[in-house]
């Protein structure tokens, strides 16, 4: 049986800085959801396949179930809650709604973070680049077709 060990970490998420004691084994996604109550990022698998927990850590897209919270000490993190400015949806968020790129909305936060990272790196991706960028995010409702259209529309 493992003995819990802990550490105090500091992270900045969507512009707000948090300092918390965390168990060394706690996953970043559990820290974000359970400790900070930022529940926009979701969990859809146990194995790093689904991408529902995708966030941007120091500018890099990561699946936050594949990283320990202690590894994020000192990091600047962006989650879905930070995409809109006040009531103003980001272009991608609006495009997802316009194109009906979401149904249940469970995969949507992760999908939006992957698409956000894509458009930062490549503002005008072609169809193949959009598909490749979203391959780590599973959606069971839409069949992806409208998601491709939404990302494409937001890039124009």
């Amino acid at each position: 049986m493992s003995v819990a060990t802990g550490k105090t970490i500091t992270v900045t998420i969507n512009g707000e800085t948090y300092e918390r004691d965390v168990e060394a084994r706690k996953l970043l996604i559990h820290f974000i959801r359970d400790d900070l109550d930022l529940t926009g990022s979701h969990i859809g698998c146990d194995t790093g396949n689904c991408g529902a927990c995708s966030v941007i850590v120091d500018g890099v897209l990561v699946k936050s179930c594949m990283m320990l919270a202690v590894q994020a000490d000192g990091a600047t993190i962006e989650t879905v809650e930070g995409l809109a400015e006040g009531d103003q949806l980001s272009k991608l968020q609006q495009s997802f709604s316009d194109m009906h790129a979401l149904q249940c909305g469970y995969c949507t936060p992760g999908m939006l973070m992957s698409a956000t990272a894509l458009l930062r790196a490549n503002p005008h991706p072609n169809d193949a680049e959009i598909r490749k960028a979203l391959q780590g995010n599973i959606c069971r409702c839409t069949g992806y077709w409208n998601i491709f259209e939404a990302v494409k529309a937001a890039s124009e």
């Binding site: 049986m1 168990e23 979701h42 689904c50 968020q93 997802f96 909305g105 469970y106 959009i130 077709w145």
Partner: protein, 820 residues
């Protein structure tokens, strides 16, 4: 007023219905502000983790939870022994022998599938609950596992439920028409030894879960949950828990996909309830992905054995007989309803009148099967579509021509099937033409030659399906005549609040279908206001009085049951608003009034206008002086009840479902014969669900169902080894479609309004099974020049296609043709 008064409603110049209104749900969901089940927290809540069986079949000889309970942070545990003393076994739908299954919320004395919950541990954190679960000591005495339904009743095979006296759960014979005459008339009899529909489900991205609170003062549980059929969960849970249904309050908000897979979480919910009471604290349970795969709601695995098809030389289909064998898994959680649900689509889309299905359902040591998108109809429609293509293949006929020769036609509508179901409307042949045009059918020969030149095998396949919606629950009596279920219902309330807010509550539990939006469209059309003025509460709450016994979101019915309830309640409200205005305007007849611009006015003098805000304020807060006999509350509840009769149990005849949406899919594939790998290079999906309230939402359902079908056709399979271990317990091994897997898709639609529903709508969303049929047909078509293997399984991963190329006779030998 009474619910039967009719209200004259003028149609707005531009109705909201029929428009792709942006979804109301989206704003919260794209901002991560949805409330899914794992998002909820309560002070001092405990996290629940299940200890699960590593064996498919074993006696439990001892359980010791002492070390787990002593673990730091642990609040307590629950064992099967406690469950057996505190609850009764769940009510069984089956007649004998399945009726004798004793199914509890935790394993009692025996485990019957890998992943079956044995003990529940509750702790301060998820991690502590998991750690402590590993300290629970369970001793097992393993028994051989039963993993193949075909041999489950053989001598010497272990019995899974001793109380049933064997592994047979249910058996029934369905026969309509005159089989002897049909086979006498036939020119040919096509015999198919064995067809197999594989085991998979829709794997919603959010797993099951609940947050359950117990109120000691009232004895009531509140279950915040993502269960998608609270009406069913309640009738399963209440008697088992020896509790009245008023003590079970179900609340849902956002649900991360359901597809039928979230109907049968009642055993886990009972565990949560018992622990909330035992430990006197809120209990939080979120199912892990692996746990979902191991234990939750697999789709019905079905064999079709010794099939015989009576057919004329020109491809006219006369009838068929088959033995259907369902693998129910370890428990009957919704089964054996799958043994009758298929009968909603008995003849598929074809006019054959002589049909016999000998249906058997057996238990195995696999996860229990329960509804999955297309529940039980998909299996049967796959069978009928396979039969069509095998007949065409064997008789060297064109699959398009065979379909058109046998389709029920637009002129036959409404069409009564041999078993008394009524297909309401549709034009299948026209839909097929549209689908073929979308894939440029005329160029197939040329494209086949082009593929051959590149060393590829091109195949084209058609899948036709019916998405039957709005169940008549009376069909359950064909399974068990003692059951007292029939008909269907759904409830909505619509009210005007004090400041004129239009507030709608539904009994449904949407999981992405956009009910808040489409309900608002229907309301806005009747009240002549903007959809933005209509506030539809998210989710379901049994405190709202907007639910009935069949409330929920399942079985392709919202556009009929839910929206008809909304329509009924809104029309009641519209009539009440006019009655109130009539009184306020000093007795102006209601016929002289109309709703417009967010209020009610006198048609001939529109300046006499009473806004909804004034109506709401008068009734709710400023009602002195109103006439004594003014019977108006501006808070209207309507229960929609479809027009059903109880089917005849003896002849198994009657209308089992109200509407029949239709899907025709066409797949074009290219196989690499060296490896068996194939790409879907072109794909068309044509849908007809009657009147479309929101075309964009409808098309979204069509697309999503198609994607699920393609995943199931090519990859997704809950495969077990002979010891009963699930080989695909996570998204590594169970490959669902990813962005890179998606083929090009062309969609089309036809609108054939249902004559049987208040809005002309049909339930829809489950017709994606057509994709499985289409891919199977395309594979078979592509393999014709390579030995002509018959596709006999619904899942055709690349290795199976390669095997069919290597050894076409292995599959081809399953089929013979005899001249009659």
């Amino acid at each position: 007023m009474s619910a039967t008064e009719t209200v004259e409603v003028t149609v707005p110049v531009v109705p909201w219905s029929g428009q792709s209104v942006p979804r109301k749900e989206d704003k919260r969901l794209v901002q991560g502000q949805g409330v899914f089940i794992d998002d909820m927290k309560r002070h001092a809540m405990g996290y629940l983790h299940f200890v699960r069986s590593p064996y498919a079949h074993a006696h439990i000889t001892s359980i010791d939870v002492s070390a787990a309970e002593a673990h730091p942070g642990v609040y307590g545990t629950l064992t099967g022994e406690e469950v057996a003393s505190l609850t009764d076994p769940f009510f069984q739908i089956a007649s004998v022998p399945g009726a004798n299954v004793k199914d509890y919320a935790l394993a009692v004395g025996k485990v019957r599938h890998v992943g079956e919950p044995i003990v529940a541990v509750v702790a301060e954190t998820r991690e502590a609950a998991r750690d402590a679960s590993e300290l629970v000591e369970v001793e097992f005495e393993p028994i051989d596992a039963v993993t193949d339904a075909r041999y489950a009743q053989d001598d010497g095979v272990p019995t899974i439920h001793e109380d049933c006296g064997g592994n047979l759960m249910w058996h029934g014979v369905y026969e309509w028409g005159d089989l002897d005459a049909a086979f006498a008339e036939a020119d040919k009899v096509v015999k198919i030894d064995e067809l197999h529909f594989h085991r998979f489900n829709s794997t919603p991205l959010e797993c099951d879960g609940a947050l359950v609170e117990y109120n000691r003062g009232t004895g009531q549980w509140t279950l915040y949950t993502n269960n998608q059929f609270p009406g069913f969960a309640a009738i399963m849970m209440g008697p088992a828990m020896r509790s009245g249904l008023d003590k079970l309050r179900f609340v849902t908000q956002d649900i991360g996909g359901g597809f039928g897979n979230k109907i049968t979480s009642h055993p886990q919910l009972v565990v949560c309830c018992l622990l909330a009471r035992k430990l006197n604290r809120p209990i939080q349970w979120t199912e892990w992905r692996t746990d979902f795969h191991l234990s939750m709601s697999h789709g019905n695995e079905r064999w079709f054995l010794a099939t015989e098809v009576a057919v004329k030389n020109d491809g006219t289909l006369l009838g068929f007989r088959t033995r259907a064998l369902d693998d129910a898994g370890a428990y009957l959680r919704y089964e054996p309803l799958g043994g009758v649900i298929w009968a909603q689509v008995t003849p598929g889309m074809y006019k054959w009148r002589h049909i016999r299905v000998d249906f058997t359902q057996v238990a195995t040591n696999k996860a229990p099967v329960s509804p999955n998108r297309g529940y039980s109809r998909m299996q049967h429609l796959w069978f009928t579509e396979r039969v069509i293509d095998i007949v065409a293949h064997e008789l060297d006929l064109d699959p398009v021509e065979v379909r058109k020769r046998n389709y029920v036609t637009v002129d036959d509508m409404p069409y009564e099937t041999p078993n008394g179901c009524v297909y309401d409307s549709g034009d299948y042949a026209r839909m097929l033409d549209i689908a073929l045009e979308l894939v440029d059918y005329g160029s197939v020969a040329e494209r086949r030659a082009d593929a051959e030149a590149r060393g590829k095998l091109l195949g084209i396949g058609i899948g036709s399906t019916l998405d039957s919606g709005t169940n008549n629950f009376g069909q359950s009596r064909l399974i068990n005549p003692e059951l007292q279920f029939s008909g269907n219902n759904e409830v909505a309330t619509v009210k005007l609040d004090i400041f004129g807010e239009i507030v709608v509550t539904l009994g449904t539990t949407p999981q992405g279908q956009g009910h808040e939006t489409t309900a608002a469209q229907v309301v806005a059309d009747i009240l002549r206001c903007s959809v933005d003025d209509v506030h539809v509460r998210a989710g379901h709450d049994s405190y709202w009085n907007s639910h009935a016994g069949f409330s929920g979101t399942y079985a392709s019915q919202f556009a009929v049951t839910g929206l008809s309830a909304v329509k009924g309640a809104t029309e009641m409200l519209a009539a009440e608003i006019k009655k109130l205005a009539s009184a306020v305007f000093g007795g102006v007849p209601v016929e002289a009034l109309e709703l417009a611009d967010g209020g009610v006015r006198i048609k001939e003098s529109p300046d006499a206008f009473l806004p909804f805000m004034a109506c709401g304020a008068i009734i709710n807060a400023n009602n002195a002086g109103l006439p004594d006999d003014l019977d108006v509350t501006l808070n209207c509840r309507y229960v929609y009840r479809p027009p059903f009769q109880v089917p005849d149990v003896e002849t198994k005849f009657g209308n089992l479902t109200l509407t029949y949406a239709t899907q025709i899919h066409v797949a074009v594939i290219e196989i690499d014969p060296e490896t068996g790998y194939y790409d879907i290079v072109d794909y068309a999906a044509v849908d007809d669900c009657g009147k479309r309230i929101n075309p964009q939402i409808v098309e979204g359902q069509v697309m999503g169902a198609t994607a699920q079908a393609l995943g199931a056709a090519v990859h997704e399979h809950f495969a077990y080894d002979e010891d009963g271990n699930l080989l695909t317990p996570n998204f590594y091994d169970y490959h669902v479609p990813h962005a890179l897997d998606m083929p090009p898709l062309r969609t089309g639609y036809v609108e054939s309004p249902s004559p049987f529903t208040p809005l002309g709508t049909k339930g829809m969303g489950e017709g994606g099974g057509a994709g499985i049929h289409a891919v199977c047909a395309a594979v078979q078509d592509a393999l014709r020049p390579r030995g002509g293997a018959i596709v006999w399984d619904s899942c055709n991963p690349y290795h199976r296609v390669w095997q069919m190329i290597q050894n076409p006779a292995e599959a081809g030998d399953k089929v013979t043709v005899e001249s009659a």
